[in-house]
C-alpha cells in the first residue's frame, strides 16, 4: 500500500508538471489521527500531500463534476472562443471510476477532461463500524499493517482484523479494480470476500411481511434529520437544483413532517435507478446512521434482474432508464 501511495504521488506530480491536468483530486491526511479528507492539488510540489490507505472513504468523482462545473460557470462571461476547459486528474478506485463512467455516459463532461489514476482497492474502513468496534471510545491512534488493525483508545489498546470494520459495500464489492483508467497503478486487487453474498440482505428483506418492511422503512427514515449529506456526497446527485429545494412545484415540504422525509428519501433513492454504484459514501457520511444501503441495493438488484445492467460497469452499457427494449418484462401490468 505504501508502494501504491508512492506511485500515486509520482503520477500526480508528473501529470501536474507536464500540464496534462490542471488539478489533481485525491486524499490527504485529515485532522484526526487516522482520517483522510479530499484534497485538491495544483502545484506539483504539493503532490507529497497525497495519501492512499484504508481510510480513504468518500467517492471523489463528485469533486470532478463540481470542479468542471464551477469552472464552466466562471466562464459564462468569457467570449466563446476564449473559453478554456479544465482537466482534472483523479485518484480513483473501482467505485469512483464507475461514477465517472456514469458522468461520461450522461454527457456531463468529455472523456479528455478527466485523467484517471486508477488504483486497486481492497476496501475502506467504515468510520461507524470502527467506532462501534471500540464501543464508541475516542480513538487516539489507529494503524494498519496488512489485514491487522491496531486501535488505541483512552481505555486501552485493541487489535481487530480489517474485515470486521470494512464498509458493507466493500465487503460485497465486485468492482474493486477500476473499470476505466488512463494510468493504472499497481497490480489488480484480489476479489473481495463476500461478492457472492451481494444481495443476501435484500433477499432476506424481501421475504419479510409487508408491514414489517414498512415498519423498518419508517423506523430508518425517522432517524433522518434532512441534512442532505447523502445527496451532497453522492456523485450521481449533481442536479443544479435538487427536487428538495425546488419551489415550483414544491415536491417535498421542508418541515419535519415524517412523510416528507420518507418521500424525500424514497425519491432520492429512486433517482439512483441504474446509477448507484454502491460506493457507500452516503452511508459513510450519514450522521444518523440511516440504513440507506438496504434500499439502494434493491434498486441495484432489480436493475440487474430486469435490465441486466450494472451501474457504470462500462462506457458501452447504456444507463438502464435511458434505453428500452420491446420485450422488457411487464408482468406487473394490470390486466382486468
Amino acid at each position: 500500500m505504501e508502494n501504491i501511495e508512492k506511485q500515486v504521488r509520482e503520477q500526480a506530480k508528473k501529470l501536474l508538471a507536464d500540464g496534462t491536468v490542471d488539478i489533481v483530486v485525491g486524499y490527504e491526511k485529515g485532522t484526526l489521527p487516522f482520517q483522510t479528507i479530499p484534497c485538491f492539488i495544483t502545484n506539483p510540489d504539493d503532490a507529497e500531500r497525497l495519501v492512499w490507505n484504508r481510510f480513504c472513504s468518500v467517492n471523489l468523482a463528485k469533486y470532478v463534476h463540481d470542479i468542471i462545473f464551477a469552472h464552466k460557470a466562471s466562464q459564462v462571461r468569457t467570449k466563446p472562443e476564449e473559453r478554456t476547459k479544465k482537466t482534472v486528474g483523479i485518484v480513483a478506485r473501482g467505485c469512483t471510476t464507475r461514477s465517472l463512467v456514469i458522468h461520461l455516459q450522461e454527457k456531463q463532461y468529455d472523456r479528455d477532461q478527466v485523467v484517471i489514476i486508477g488504483v486497486p482497492c481492497t476496501g475502506y474502513i467504515a468510520n461507524k463500524k470502527l467506532s462501534m468496534a471500540v464501543n464508541g471510545a475516542e480513538i487516539t491512534t489507529c494503524t494498519v499493517a496488512g489485514d491487522a488493525l491496531s486501535v488505541e483508545t483512552k481505555g486501552g489498546k485493541r487489535d481487530i482484523t480489517v474485515n470486521e470494520v470494512l464498509a458493507d459495500s466493500c465487503l460485497t464489492c465486485r468492482f474493486n479494480n477500476p473499470v476505466i483508467s488512463d494510468v493504472m497503478i499497481g497490480d489488480a486487487a484480489p476479489p473481495m470476500p463476500d461478492g457472492e453474498k451481494e444481495y443476501n440482505a435484500v433477499d432476506a428483506f424481501e421475504e419479510l411481511p409487508i408491514d414489517e418492511r414498512w415498519a423498518y422503512f419508517t423506523k430508518e427514515m425517522a432517524k433522518c434529520i434532512r441534512c442532505y449529506a447523502c445527496r451532497n456526497t453522492c456523485p450521481s446527485c449533481y442536479c443544479k437544483v435538487c427536487f428538495v429545494e425546488q419551489s415550483q412545484p414544491r415536491w417535498v415540504g421542508a418541515g419535519i413532517d415524517e412523510s416528507d422525509t420518507q418521500v424525500f428519501q424514497f425519491m432520492r433513492m429512486f433517482h439512483m435507478v441504474g446509477r448507484c454504484v454502491d460506493c457507500g459514501s452516503c452511508v459513510e457520511v450519514c450522521p444518523m446512521g440511516v440504513d440507506l444501503r438496504k434500499f439502494l441495493k434493491k434498486l441495484d438488484k432489480d436493475d440487474l434482474q430486469l435490465f441486466n445492467h450494472r451501474a457504470g460497469e462500462s462506457l458501452e452499457s447504456a444507463p438502464s432508464l435511458s434505453v428500452h427494449r420491446e420485450n422488457d418484462k411487464e408482468e406487473f401490468i394490470f390486466e382486468p
Binding site: F205, W251, K298, L299, S320, S322, E326, D328, F332, E335
Partner: protein
C-alpha cells in the same frame, strides 16, 4: 373533514392517462354508456412517458388511496417509444414501492387503447375493487 371510517369511506383513485389511447378509451366508454365506478379522477397527459414517478408517490402522499397509470399498448405509442421508457420506470417504481412496504395494489399500471372502451371500464372496476379491498391509505400519507 369527516374522519375516514370504513362505513363512509369511498376509495379515492387518481388515474394518469395518456391523451392518445387511454383518454380516448375513456371517452369511448362514456359514449358507449358503459358503467364504471365514479371513484376515479382522470388526469390527462400527453403520454405515459410524461408521468414522472414523483406524480405517483406525491399522489399517495397527498392522500390518494390508489394511483392508476395507463397509456398506449407497447408498440402503439403516439411518440413511438414513450410508453416503452415509461414501462422501465414503472417496473422499478412498482417493485420499490412494495419493497419499502407500500401495498403493491396502491399503484397500478396498465395499457388501454383508444378502441378499448370496454376494457377501460373493466380496468376502473378492477382497480376500484382492489383498492377498496385494501381500505383507506395509511402509509406515506401526510397528516395535516
Amino acid at each position: 373533514m369527516t374522519e375516514k371510517t370504513n362505513e363512509n369511506w369511498e376509495p379515492k383513485i387518481i388515474a394518469f392517462v395518456c391523451n392518445w389511447c387511454t383518454y380516448a378509451g375513456a371517452d369511448l366508454a362514456g359514449i358507449s354508456r358503459l358503467q364504471y365506478p365514479p371513484n376515479v379522477r382522470l388526469v390527462r397527459l400527453p403520454c405515459s412517458g410524461r408521468v414522472n414517478p414523483f406524480y405517483v408517490v406525491k399522489a399517495l402522499q397527498e392522500g390518494m388511496d390508489g394511483v392508476l397509470v395507463s397509456g398506449c399498448h407497447p408498440g402503439e405509442c403516439h411518440y413511438i417509444s414513450g410508453n416503452l421508457s415509461a414501462r422501465r420506470k414503472f417496473a422499478m417504481l412498482k417493485n420499490f414501492l412494495s419493497y419499502v412496504g407500500i401495498e403493491p395494489d396502491r399503484a397500478i399500471f396498465t395499457w388501454v387503447s383508444a378502441s378499448e372502451g370496454e376494457k377501460f371500464s373493466q380496468v376502473i372496476k378492477g382497480v376500484t375493487e382492489k383498492v377498496r379491498a385494501l381500505g383507506p391509505a395509511q402509509k406515506l400519507v401526510k397528516k395535516l
